[in-house]
Each structure stands twice: as structure tokens, then as C-alpha cells.
Chain length 362, copies 2
């Protein structure tokens, strides 16, 4: 079975094998060495000299952590949303009492940095901007560098969801002045779910020191204090950290630049491939993500049936659309452990499966 | 290396091997079958016909979930605390704005149910009682059946931390009217950390429907709605669920009654054994836990040094004391995958190690 959803992603055999290692004391020196080693390797991929914390949760837990550690109820927040995950980020902030102003970008389009600039100019009361770098639900990668420049013109706090991008596409966290950035172990890192990795810079820590939203499990300050003695505040997802350790070593070997280039190459092959089958891309191609490709379900085709045929007859698992996009698009994940050959196999299966679910290439 | 801390606990080989299984789509039918099977097996051990949810977090995340899903800021809560984890439960409630009244029991002693009754009589404004069934920091198992009877005399909501007990000691959740009970995968279940399992009964759901504390990642209602379609709201810790599935099958084979009897037998062997070495127990023996034994560090002995010698020379990892008990006690975990022979090995190592760290058995 080839798993081609935008996470969880397949794990190489050495990663899977690493999880057969027995449990260790999470208050002992072996764990301290493990967590320090993994953190050092994470910082290379995050391209940051600042703190990177590991919390025992999915990426959504990381988004919640970013919000509750840096904001207070009543804070005015600008949400720049172009899909399901942008909406989720905004909803979490609202749930904890932030006042959220939304820039709603049409799904399938990227955020225009000028809109961010205009919104910040129009309302100086905004303290913080929430941005999704790589929007998994629509297959868009936003121009984070330009968005960040706009946000920093106004000296605002920038919280970034790059769960489905970091480790696969270039995001130089320090260079782009991203104050808090959230990633997830089950995406480009070739590890299973269980750990969300979050970078926090000096500006981020200043926000933490003033933030009044309630928090306990996700508390950054506790996580940092424990990290300094080689621990986590609560019992961590040890096997996922074993796996991350091995996944990161594989990434170190390939080198971040090569990894980003491979994802760019494979993203392009995927997009060219689906177009050559007579299908159309859902996302604006100028901002198409290199980790996930969203494809319009052609008229007359039952999207759910297509996914079933691909799985049952071709052994390929792809994702459908979420929320209002259910039945309207399908999505091919190509992040982490993925090769050109994997995508060729997906394209070939698609080509053979499409006619059996009503597709006529006119 | 023999890991004898009160969690994470060692995993049998078939559990470790289960985690080499490749990732699957957490929105697909294979995952739906997995989560339903695991939930059914969990209900047998919880001894409940009500809901059992799985959340991607450590036990502390489960405690936070229990609080934020059932309470509103300003609610008056009675905390019955006899150790570090009772304090933690109370601190979480306070952090989210509950008004916490504390019964502080001397560490090493059990909670007196009559004290609970008196406190509830004295203050009818209390809506909820927080209880730690098995207090890992001191090695005490509280008389939860009698505490619950006292709480239910006054018709209050009962939230129970049984993270280090459930699966190892008897806790018939329905029979004892426990409204929310929190467990953790890395304890008696022979699986790694990563999942907290939480039961919620009808009375618990009524509280959820009125609770106003902010929540998103830990939201019970979302978890239940997704569980009904064989999913979790967020990407779950899949490998830990694979492991739980196998651990639960092993537990099913042994049978809960036999598991509880084994833990009782091994608890007794541990206590008798340390006493026969001339050591004294920290906890009131009438309420000694069968999953963890706390032992006083004898005068003249360096507790930290003892743990180091046991680890480095005998390959046995035990735990020290927490907070004010650091250096004053050491703790032997005996829960989950543990046999009489394991404990004999620990006792023999202790016997040999003690003289080298200054112990003189007078």
C-alpha cells in the first residue's frame, strides 16, 4: 500500500525499526542526550538559533500552544486564512478569547501580502498575525517571506503554521523573522505522529512573558525550563522521538537544500502529470505547494469512488477534500519519504482508474 | 537494563514489534477498525459501558482535558491531594480559573473519606471533587470506593486521576460512579507514552454540556463525534495505538482479575523484600500501592548515589523522590509487564548496592 495523503507519511524501514527500542527513563541521562541531539538537528532544519520545543501532541496541539502562550483574552489578532487549517488557527484563538479579524482568501488562492499590509495599517490595535505557510487543504504555499516583511513593517508578532511544510520546503525561520513556528513529526520528518515541534524566538518569549491565556500542558516556559535539564515537563512520546532522531539523521545525510529541491522536483512532476491526464489543478499554480497537490474532481466523476478504486485496486491511498471541498477535489501528498518513482506509480494508477469512475478526457 | 520507574514501563517484544507497522490513513477504514477494537478492549479494563476517549497526549494532558471539559471559571472545586499528582490536578483547575478548596493530606498517608464528607457538608457550593486514586509520588492507593460514596452522597461530580493505577489495580468505573477517569498508555498497559485514555459517563457529559472553560485540542465533544465515525479529530499517535492494541490483547489473555492479583502479589513481595533488607516504607502500609513502592532513604545513604549504583552496576533503573521528597525516598515501579523474578532481581541488587552507599543495617 502506498500512502499518499498529506500526513501521516510513510516511514523508512530504519525509522520503523528504531521504535522497537525499549522504553527508557524520561528523567535519566540517556533521554537527556536524546532530546538534546534531536533538538540540535531540528534547529538545522528550522534554520534557527533560537529555541525549538517538543510537545507531546499533534500539530493542532502545537497551534493551540502557539496561541495560548503568546496571547491574552481580548487581544486583537489578524488571521490570514486561505483554507481549513487557516480557519482552524483562527478558531483556536477565538476559542481562547482573542478578537479575531479575518482576511478570507478564496480557497485555492494565495494570500496577497499587500492585503496584510492594508489590514495592519487600517487597524493599529492588532497585536499579532496568524499565517498558514503551507495550506494542506487547498495545496497552496503562501509567500511567507513577503507576508513576514509586511507584518514586521508594523512590528507585529508573527505566528506561523508550517506543519505540512517545514522540513520539506524552505522556511528560514530566523531570516524571515518568524516568532513562533509550528511543525509536526508525521509530515516531512519521516516519523510517526506524536510530537509537535515549535520554535520560539526572543520576540516570541517576550510575548510569552505577557500572555495571560490559561495554559498548563502546553506551557512553553515549563517546556523550556525542563529542556534545559534535558527533560520534558510531562512524559513525552518517546517512540516518536526515537523515530524523529533517525528521520533527522536521514535528512542530515541528504541535506536540507537537496530535500527542498527533491520536493520541488516531485511537486512539479505531480502537477505536470495530473495535467497531462486531462485533469485540472485546484490551486493557483503560481503558489502550488510542493508537499501536496489538490486536483479538481472532473465533472461526472465520483471523487469518493475514485479514492476507493485507487486504494482497493491499485494499493494507493490518497486524500479527499475537506469540509466544503469534500467530493470536489482529491489530494496527493508528496512529502517526506517520497521519490519520483512513487509519483509515477500514482500517476499511472490514476490514468488507469479514471475511466472506470466515469472520466472522459475530452 | 531493567526499567523500574513508575512509567514509562517496559514493553513486551510483541508490543515493540507492532510499532514497525507502516503508517495508515487516519481517515480510512483500517484506522476506524483499529480505534473501535482498541476502544472495546479499553472498556473491559475500565469496567465501563460508557464512553472511553483516546487523546494524543500524556496523562497530564488527560487531567487538563478532564478539567477544561467539565468546569467553568469560578466553579468551586474540592481537591483531595496526598502528593505531587494530586497537587498537579488542583493546579490545572486553578490555572483555568476554578476556585479550588484543598484537603491536604500528609504525604505518605491516604485520604480519609470522612474528611471529604465533612468538607462537602461544610461548603454546599462545591460542584466537583478531584481525586487521585493511585498517587505515584508517595506510593499510596486511596480508598476510592469510599471516597466516591462520600462524593455521591452529596451528588457531586467526581473526576479521577488513575493514570498510574488503571489497568493494574481494580477500578470498576461504573460501579464506583466515577464520572471522568484518566489513564495513560505508558503505565499498566504495556505500551509507550503518547495516548491518554479518558472515560466519561452520562453525568460527565452533562457537565461537559455546561462547561465554559476554553478548550480546543482536548475537546471531549469533538473527540466523541469523531470516534463515532472511527476517527480522532486530530492526527493521533498511531504507533502508540498499534502498541495499545497488542498490549490490550495480552491483558485480555491474562484477564483483568489475574492482572490485579499479580500486581497485588508483586506489590507485597516488593514491600516485604525492602523491609527484610532493613529499609522502611514511606507510605502507610495499609494503603500501599501495588504499582509503585516508595522507600525511605536511610540515614547516611545518598539517595542519588544509590540510584546511580543500581543503574550503572546492576542495570536497574529506579526513580527518586519528587519535589520535597527528592533525596528522601526512592521508588520502585512494578506495573504492567512485571514478574516476581524482576522484583527478586531488584531486591538482590538493592541488597548488594546498599552497603556501598553507606547503608548500615542496625
Amino acid at each position: 500500500m502506498q500512502l499518499r495523503v498529506p500526513g501521516p507519511t510513510p516511514c523508512p524501514d530504519e525509522v520503523l525499526q528504531s521504535m522497537t527500542k525499549q522504553m527508557i527513563n524520561h528523567r535519566g541521562k540517556e533521554f537527556a542526550e536524546l532530546i538534546r541531539r534531536v533538538t540540535d538537528k531540528l534547529k538545522v532544519v528550522f534554520q534557527t538559533k533560537e529555541d525549538v520545543l517538543m510537545l507531546g501532541a499533534s500539530g493542532t496541539g502545537g497551534l493551540e500552544a502557539a496561541i495560548v502562550n503568546t496571547l491574552s483574552p481580548g487581544d486583537k489578532v489578524l488571521s490570514v486564512s486561505c483554507g481549513v487549517f487557516g480557519e482552524r488557527f483562527a478558531n483556536i484563538a477565538e476559542q481562547y478569547g482573542a478578537e479575531v479579524k479575518r482576511i478570507q482568501v478564496e480557497w485555492g488562492k494565495a494570500v496577497d501580502p499587500q492585503q496584510v499590509r492594508d489590514a495592519l495599517k487600517a487597524d493599529p490595535g492588532i497585536s499579532t498575525v496568524l499565517v498558514t505557510h503551507n495550506e494542506t487543504s487547498t495545496g497552496i504555499t503562501n509567500d511567507l517571506s513577503s507576508i513576514s516583511a509586511a507584518v514586521k513593517e508594523f512590528d507585529k508578532l508573527l505566528l506561523v503554521d508550517c506543519i505540512s511544510g517545514l522540513g520539506s520546503i524552505n522556511l528560514p525561520v530566523d531570516e524571515w523573522n518568524c516568532d513562533v513556528v509550528v511543525a509536526g513529526s508525521q509530515k516531512g520528518w519521516m516519523a510517526p505522529p506524536g510530537i509537535t515541534m515549535v520554535s520560539v524566538n526572543q520576540r516570541g518569549w517576550e510575548a510569552v512573558s505577557k500572555a495571560k491565556m490559561p495554559r498548563f500542558y502546553f506551557d512553553f516556559t515549563r517546556a523550556k525550563n525542563f529542556m534545559e535539564k534535558g527533560q520534558t515537563p510531562w512524559t513525552p512520546t518517546i517512540t516518536t522521538i526515537y523515530a524523529l532522531d533517525v528521520g533527522l539523521s536521514l535528512m542530515e545525510k541528504e541535506g536540507p537544500k537537496n530535500i527542498f529541491a527533491r520536493h520541488a522536483r516531485i511537486g512539479k512532476i505531480t502537477r505536470e502529470g495530473v495535467k497531462s491526464l486531462g485533469l485540472s489543478l485546484f490551486a493557483d499554480e503560481a503558489f502550488a505547494s510542493n508537499t501536496v497537490t489538490a486536483v479538481n474532481v472532473p465533472q461526472g466523476v465520483d471523487g469518493k469512488k475514485l479514492n476507493e478504486v485507487l486504494r482497493d485496486e491499485y494499493g494507493i491511498v490518497i486524500a479527499g477534500g475537506q469540509q466544503t471541498l469534500a467530493g470536489k477535489i482529491f489530494r496527493i501528498g508528496h512529502l517526506g519519504w517520497v521519490t519520483e518513482a512513487d509519483i509515477e506509480e500514482v500517476l499511472s494508477a490514476l490514468k488507469n482508474a479514471l475511466p472506470s469512475v466515469g472520466f472522459r478526457n475530452i
